[in-house]
Symmetry: C2
Subunit: 205 residues, 2 copies
């Protein structure tokens, strides 16, 4: 069942809108099985700590350190399950702190992305690519996409209301049977918009 609310946005006032949950992605790492074993030891199986909103995805119990040209960030969560590519998602603020450059990319587009070193308990990886700043996006299943009137790969605008009211443009729609409706923002975006606790956004046309 979809949650709805009356829009608070002036020209949409009293229009019934679908409330879309906002999820904040803190910096995290996706690993291939190979890279997982380099960092955590041979035949290592990633232990599940917590299911995430997207079916099958989970936060593991494990963390790694990211080592940049200028600084190191400890305790970066490894997400599971393993993927066919290793991808490290950080905020632009993290990039400045690390001293490393990373392009703005939709998850999965790691070709010629940023370099980073990862340190795990049993080994390290010196990656020439994999570091990205995630492009903001909306996860939806086909039914939800139809209800919202959005198409796969479309870029939409979403309104996060509050004392730091922000309209994010260039939010890419990703439609998949396994997805659950959620807008994913990184920590810079969430902090800029004053996202605190359970937050919902709406699509602005």
């Amino acid at each position: 069942m979809l949650l709805t609310t009356y829009s608070t946005y002036p020209y949409l006032k009293n229009i019934l809108m679908i409330k879309i949950p906002v999820e904040v992605s803190a910096r995290h790492v996706h690993l291939t099985q190979h890279d997982l074993e380099v960092l955590f030891g041979e035949d290592f199986v990633l232990p599940k700590a917590k299911e995430l909103s997207q079916t099958g995805e989970f936060a593991s119990t494990e963390v790694v350190a990211l080592v940049g040209a200028k600084n190191k960030i400890e305790n970066v969560r490894v997400l599971g399950p393993c993927r066919t590519f290793t991808q490290i998602e950080v905020s632009r603020t993290d990039c400045f702190f690390l001293g490393n450059q990373a392009p703005l990319r939709l998850s999965g587009k790691v070709i010629r992305s940023g370099a980073i070193k990862i340190i795990g308990p049993k080994g390290e990886l010196d990656l020439t690519e994999g570091l990205i700043v995630a492009k903001r996006h909306l996860h939806v299943n086909p039914d939800e996409a139809r209800d919202l009137g959005v198409l796969n790969n479309q870029n939409i605008k979403i309104l996060v209301d509050g004392p730091r009211q922000t309209i994010f443009g260039e939010v890419e729609v990703r439609v998949n049977e396994n997805f659950n409706m959620n807008v994913h923002l990184d920590t810079d975006e969430a902090n800029a918009a004053g996202v605190v606790g359970d937050t919902y956004c709406e699509i602005i046309k």
Copy 2:
């Protein structure tokens, strides 16, 4: 002379807009003369390193450390000249890192704001208030305000275009004879909107 450009925003397409420079405020500290002397020694005079965009304001050569409940941030710039209140401006990201809470406030509104410890080369301050996250704002002189059609204390929306296109609501207008036209964003806001190098924004009505 005001710079103008044709709006890139769909419903304002081909409308001539005034280009407003965007300035990014990194974390910084304003001190009273008393607090300056506690941190840097008696009769200390704050050395000027660089003029800032607002007339009379300058970045000093000096830095302090902020010590929070969880972490410490070194090399935080002291701005001058001294003020009648001590105010520490950080981003929401910094608050999480420091482990300290700070309200969203327009500069100058420090009453019952956040606690923070400041360490300087000659002493330290254990402040019970002064830590804020700055509310985004537009500096303008009265002529610029008239040209833009905005009033003091009005909250406006501004568009920062680009691959992370963002419309910031709740941007407070501050009109003063000594001001020069500039939108001030903090680092979370600038990073969320992909601000890089010289950036201009426009008012969205």
